[in-house]
């Protein structure tokens, strides 16, 4: 039996498949249209295009946008909330932030109607003592009321349940006895961490996603099993690690950024293999440009993310910054005569004017088409016969050129300049504004459109080079296969460091490690190594903001030796000094939360199995086309990118084409094909 691992990324247009044969180390990729509304059709046909026999597959890993889309489009289930008396409106009041800083208007509807947020008598105090035991009859009445109101899931959200979950656990048990399905979320199970709104919001969004996401995953799993698959089905989490499908069905909120996280993981892996561990990734889609920074091969995790206004998920997620500038973003001139790009987008349907599907307002893609950067006769994706250059030109002239007194070409260049400058702004935000020098970083575009803009990113941000992966369109699917298995845990401690109960802290660490290792043991995949990491969120008493303190903890054969008070103190001093440059001599050091991560390291596969074999520069040359750069046309060589040999050097201007991406090398740049088939684009300094 061969030992195949398959990564599947379902996007809006395409389902990407990445197949890795673990025995031989050989990888293959495939791309099939996404099927709607049931995505399992494309999912299975994609796998079927590379694998005859599903029983030969050991693992299928899926990066999904089901959760992301349900949150962004607010298409989660009708749910209810059972909460402590007096806390019905926590989800609505949030942190008293507002959708727009200025102006008098703006509203927010929580994902749960107020009519379905029910209160029950109970009270646990902040120190964990129970002032009012939970009234279980009231809990049952509330649950029945929500069932009668056709709620498909429920979240139980009790005050201070992170400090003592007794009341909440009793209520959850009572609800689970009568609730008709498994969709009962408990705030203390999902996030036993101080801060009410974040805990409530995370648990409520988990309930909101659960019917939809767990149903989707079950359909996929059933379809795989019906096809003879007997291996393990896993899902990518927002933290860039994978989890079993059962965990994902129970904790769907952890899939909120599943798909994008997989792409960032793969990008980091490719860049590190190519010798550039510091990269900024840029995923350009139809409506947005998603940016992430990877320093020394590690992507940044943020502890909390707002998926949309007021929809806060507190669980570690790969930090991804999104701006509304994609290929379909519309260019328009405002009343003051300024050229703007987006946020309105024509998306992929009707798409840019050049698609001829009904949109008449010019987009970023239309500017690329008019300037000859995209081949009008072979549109990527293969859905359309050809692109309508004249229509794109007319739209640019009407909506941008005429109002600004520019001809169509100058207007198209202007559109690109504004779009590039917005994209460059996102790159600066994650690098310069966080203390990272962009000169040290390479830009890695992936997705369909990013590689058209890499030259502009080098020029605008001062990045050293760009790396275009050999298959930028299947980066997320590849990420599914190489992602480690990872589980994150959190527990609020809320105690002073002086005289801290080391045994209790050690017991929490042991519980996290035992649960995490049990999860790795249950997995049927192989791990090269098992790692544990422990962070304490600490501050001086009275401070709100904490610093993350890496604490040294020995774990041997699954048994934790907790750190001593002195070790924690030294680690805190070092972390605080590194962050703020000074210590507070008389400050009382406080331990707020314990965060643990247990990771099973997946075996590495050799990216060079994807590298080109043979080929020649001349053989890859397809012809020439005039392309507009700056203020003039350049006759530009066109290459079939996948036919270029290792070591090929292509001075700009040149365009490298492949089925799902166009790589642009501007006149002052040079592209080189490295040993993995990546294209490295740098300034051409003779």
């Amino acid at each position: 039996m061969s030992n195949r691992m398959i990564g599947v990324d379902v996007g809006g247009t395409f389902t990407d498949i990445f197949v890795l044969d673990e025995t031989s180390g050989v990888a293959e990729v495939a791309k099939v249209p996404t099927t709607r509304p049931d995505q399992s059709g494309g999912f299975l046909s994609g796998i079927g295009s590379r694998v005859d026999d599903l029983s030969s597959v050991s693992v299928v890993v899926h990066g999904t946008t089901a959760g992301t889309n349900a949150l962004l489009e607010r298409k989660g289930a009708k749910i209810g909330v059972i909460t402590t008396q007096g806390l019905r409106d926590v989800l609505e009041m949030r942190r008293r932030d507002r959708p727009r800083t200025w102006g008098l208007r703006g509203d927010f509807e929580p994902v749960v109607d107020r009519a379905h947020r029910l209160e029950v008598p109970e009270r646990t105090l902040a120190d964990g003592t129970i002032r009012t035991p939970v009234d279980l009859d009231a809990v049952r009445v509330a649950a029945r009321q929500l069932i009668d109101a056709d709620c498909l899931a429920v979240a139980v959200l009790f005050a201070n349940a992170y400090a003592n979950d007794e009341n909440e656990a009793k209520a959850v048990a009572a609800v689970r006895e009568i609730w008709p399905n498994a969709h009962v979320s408990s705030s203390s199970e999902i996030l036993p961490e101080i801060r009410e709104f974040e805990r409530f919001s995370t648990a409520a969004l988990n309930a909101y996603l659960q019917p939809e996401v767990s149903g989707y995953l079950n359909r996929l799993e059933t379809a795989l099993k019906d096809g003879g698959f007997a291996g393990e089905f896993m899902i990518v989490q927002s933290n860039g690690g994978v989890m079993g499908v059962d965990t994902a069905a129970r904790l769907p909120v952890r899939t909120a950024l599943s798909g994008p996280a997989a792409g960032v993981i793969a990008a980091g892996y490719i860049a590190k293999a190519a010798g550039f561990p510091d990269v900024i990734t840029g995923d350009m889609g139809g409506t947005s440009f998603d940016v992430a920074l990877i320093a020394k091969g590690e992507s940044t995790l943020s502890p909390q993310t707002s998926i949309d206004f007021g929809m806060v998920v507190r669980s570690p997620m790969i930090e991804i910054t999104t701006i509304g500038a994609g290929g379909g973003s519309i260019a328009w001139v405002d009343k003051g005569g300024l050229l703007n790009i987006g946020p309105e987008s024509a998306g992929s349907t009707p798409g840019p004017v050049a698609y001829g599907l009904g949109n008449t307002r010019p987009t970023v893609t239309d500017a690329n088409v008019v300037l000859g950067r995209i081949d009008p006769d072979n549109p990527i994706g293969g859905k359309l016969e050809r692109l309508d250059v004249e229509a794109a030109k007319a739209a640019i002239l009407e909506h941008v050129g005429d109002p600004l007194g520019l001809d169509a070409l100058a207007a198209a260049e202007a559109i690109l300049r504004v779009a590039n400058s917005r994209m460059a702004g996102a790159l600066r935000l994650v690098s310069i504004e966080r203390g990272f020098d962009p000169k040290r970083f390479a830009f890695m575009p992936f997705g369909g459109g990013g590689a058209l803009h890499s030259g502009a990113m080098l020029a605008d941000v001062g990045l050293a080079r760009a790396i275009v992966p050999r298959y930028p369109g299947v980066t997320s699917a590849m990420g599914c296969v190489i992602a480690d298995m990872r589980q994150d845990f959190v527990q609020t401690i809320n105690a002073g460091l002086d005289g801290i109960d080391a045994a209790l802290l050690g017991a929490h660490m042991q519980r996290h490690v035992s649960d995490g290792l049990a999860m790795l043991d249950a997995a049927r995949t192989s791990f090269e190594a098992r790692e544990t990491a422990f962070i304490l969120d600490m501050a001086y008493l009275g401070q709100t903001h904490t610093v993350s303190v890496d604490v040294p903890v020995e774990v041997e054969n699954g048994t934790v030796t907790p750190p001593s008070e002195a070790q924690i103190g030294a680690a805190f001093d070092a972390a605080y000094m590194a962050t703020y440059g000074r210590l507070l001599e008389n400050g009382v050091r406080w331990v707020m939360n314990l965060r643990s991560a247990v990771t099973g390291k997946r075996p590495r596969f050799d990216l060079s199995t994807l590298a080109p074999r043979g080929g020649s520069l001349d053989g890859a040359l397809k012809g020439t086309r005039p392309v507009h750069f700056g203020d003039t046309w350049h006759e530009t060589k066109l290459y079939d990118r996948l036919a270029l040999p290792i070591g090929a050097e292509i001075p700009g201007p040149a365009i490298l084409e492949q089925p799902d991406t166009t790589v642009l090398i501007e006149p002052d740049l040079i592209g080189r094909i490295d040993a993995f088939g990546n294209t490295i684009i740098e300034r051409n300094t003779p």
Partner: protein, 87 residues
Amino acid sequence: MDGQSAALNVFSYEQEDGWHHPPMASKMVGIKLKQGQSVRLDTPGGGGYGAPSERVPEAVARDVAAGFISAEQATKDYGPAWQEIRT
């Protein structure tokens, strides 16, 4: 413009002899509370614009379902039309 007045701000606090409702809450100083006694602040509403009878019954029914207004108060202020709406 046919609008009605809003509820006023009400400040109340508990003492051993029961609840007190002073008329000018912002001028109170020196109130002492014992453990277990409470203070209650009712914030004012926003008043209304236009005749309440012209408000669409669906909006009234939604407010009743959400618990923002009691059924009796809704019928008193807006008339009985909302009762026909199923939410």
